[in-house]
Symmetry: C2
Subunit: 376 residues, 2 copies
């Protein structure tokens, strides 16, 4: 089947681009003398994970316990839940750890360290704990010099709960706009966890893992000294925001949304498609970029080529997307029922609601259909 014949809206993944994006990031990690832990929160698919996993590492990161269960069920044994865990989620870890021997999770508080210690003391299976460090994003995590760092490690040790390491996510790299600015955030990431590790080691703790990353910082990082792994996810697919901050080229974006033209409003120079706020997401992150507003995504032809000019989905409602442009739209090329592909602003948001990928390898022939998980 070809994309012209597939039901819309649907998510398209170009396998060749995915492979090249994965190879490039793996080569980057190797060139810095470290390893890669791909974050599967973006693609949520075992087929994608098999391409992304670093053979020298074997592990992945996830953002939900549902992802952890899914990947554990497909044989991934090193799974890092890269979000602060809560007391009520602890019982679920036992099921996951039974399948994934190296399951681990984040925490950043004394309260939660005590909850984990209590859980392990009650003869539940232990799992690895990463103490989250705030390297400047200020979302979660302890400052590298926070005294609770040592207290948490001590609480865990007293209960025999293994310390997996320290971890940080320099999400503020998304606010940087130049490779130099992003490289500076990458160095903040590195120094924050290296500082935390030095303090822990000086206090007598073994710290096997030192994990840092985001897609922009991993791309632009100059040094990984002291890091045991880079952690990133968006790079596999890429999106308009990432191409806008030079994480990859627009032509390397591997995921798009296939849509059909459902109406012409020629008097308003508007073409309406069946991909709206749900199929594309309402993410507007590209509006903050300097290159001009890309609305809810950039319109490519069904081949995935930018032959239609720089058209954007300027407006969305739930199941409608409105393509508008300054120049007259190509109504003749896009009759009712014609297919287009939309590059997403933020692929993590766009991919999330879709339950599968139509896989192509260049062109429009569908070579596979990959399932992915949705929700919690």
């Amino acid at each position: 089947m070809r994309l012209d014949e597939a039901a819309t809206p649907a998510l398209v993944l170009d396998r060749g681009k995915l492979k090249r994006n994965c190879e490039r990031m793996l080569a980057k990690a190797r060139s810095l003398g470290t390893r890669l832990r791909p974050h599967m929160k973006t693609l949520k698919s075992i087929d994608a994970a098999r391409i992304a996993i670093d053979p020298g590492h074997g592990g992945i990161a996830v953002s939900t316990l549902k992802e952890a269960e899914y990947f554990a069920g497909h044989g991934v044994t090193d799974i890092q839940y890269a979000v602060c865990i809560t007391p009520d989620k602890l019982p679920q870890t036992a099921t996951i750890a039974a399948r994934a021997a190296k399951f681990s999770a984040f925490l950043d508080s004394i309260e939660m360290a005590e909850a984990v210690a209590g859980f392990v003391r009650a003869d539940n299976p232990a799992f690895g704990i990463w103490i989250e460090i705030d390297s400047g994003e200020h979302r979660t995590g302890l400052a590298p010099d926070d005294e609770r760092l040592i207290q948490i490690a001590a609480i865990l040790r007293s209960a025999g709960a293994p310390l997996a390491g320290v971890a940080t996510h320099g999400g503020h790299s998304y606010s940087a706009r130049t490779p130099e600015g992003i490289a500076a955030v990458a160095e903040q990431e590195r120094l924050s966890v290296v500082t935390a590790v030095e303090r822990l080691r000086a206090a007598g703790f073994e710290v096997p893992g030192v994990s840092a990353g985001s897609t922009p910082t991993s791309v632009h990082r100059a040094s990984a000294e002291g890091l045991t792994e880079l952690r990133a996810g968006v790079y596999m697919a890429g999106d308009l925001f990432q191409s806008g901050i030079a994480s990859l080229a627009e032509a390397e974006i591997a995921v798009s949304v296939l849509a059909s033209v459902i109406a012409h409003k020629s008097d308003q120079n508007q073409i309406v498609i069946d991909a709206g706020g749900l199929a594309l997401s309402k993410d507007r992150s590209t509006a903050a970029l300097a290159d001009g507003d890309l609305g809810y995504g950039l319109v490519l032809d069904v081949e995935g080529e930018p032959s239609l000019g720089r058209l954007t989905v300027a407006g969305v409602s739930q199941e409608h997307g409105e393509i508008r442009g300054a120049a007259p739209l190509p109504f003749d090329r896009l009759p009712i029922g014609a297919r287009v592909r939309i590059l997403p602003n933020h692929v993590c948001m766009t991919a999330a609601i879709h339950d599968s990928y139509l896989v192509v390898d260049g062109g429009t022939e569908i070579v596979a259909r990959w399932d992915k998980i949705v929700g919690w």
Copy 2:
């Protein structure tokens, strides 16, 4: 089980509020001498549909063919696909029409009328066609005086494809900010379809259905003269945008997102929860309201009461929501693992990715779990 014990993030639906919202809209339709076709694109659940359906009408509207299949499978026979259909979607209508005798769909072009005529001539089962009228939203639909209106009706008649009626959606009511402004859009809706019907009847066509609606226009409409049905969906659940434009009171909003506190950033006066851009959606429609920015949603206590002050989710990443406020946050009341409920900006966007509702009837006791559909 109580909400305090449920896995998070999750969607909560207050059944009592849902029932009252449905009763109020039904009473409004009756008071105007018309009937109600509830739009199930928001809640996507047969349990909700059973409460919402007007016993004097029996039909629903949907926004995807997947919804149509789902509701047809649950015994709803009058299903209006309220989006312009495309040629490639025609084969799927046969399966739906086999179960839902009164299945119908929108179109607004000569091209698509010809495609439907060809489909019916090829001995496929006919289904009802609503010609979509643009009452001022300028998304899809023909102007009431467009000459193609008569041409489309003629094309359909020539093939024996039944005309279900004319329909419009005054989605520009969302841009109005006062009951008077919204009532004016409601009257635009009404006049647009009444004008279209008069033209069709004058040209000798029978037009059984005259359908108009949106939640705001249905709430504030003064007259339904000439309309055979009102069509609306968001009113069942409500959201912060709808309460901001006086469609319902904030206390009547029936859907919220249950989340757990996962981290404290007391030095930044920030509490982080496990509901982020996916669980809440990235809809920012309330930013356009006069009452102040509600971020990604308003924070209620686990009972669904506004006892925490007017806290909002000020920032989101994929699985993190950041609660911030001007006054010191109630860290003691919200320890790690504590539950909160977030009122959504735009419930259609927020509910979409979740696959079920935790149903409560006031309070926190979960009285049912309703499945809903997700995606396409």
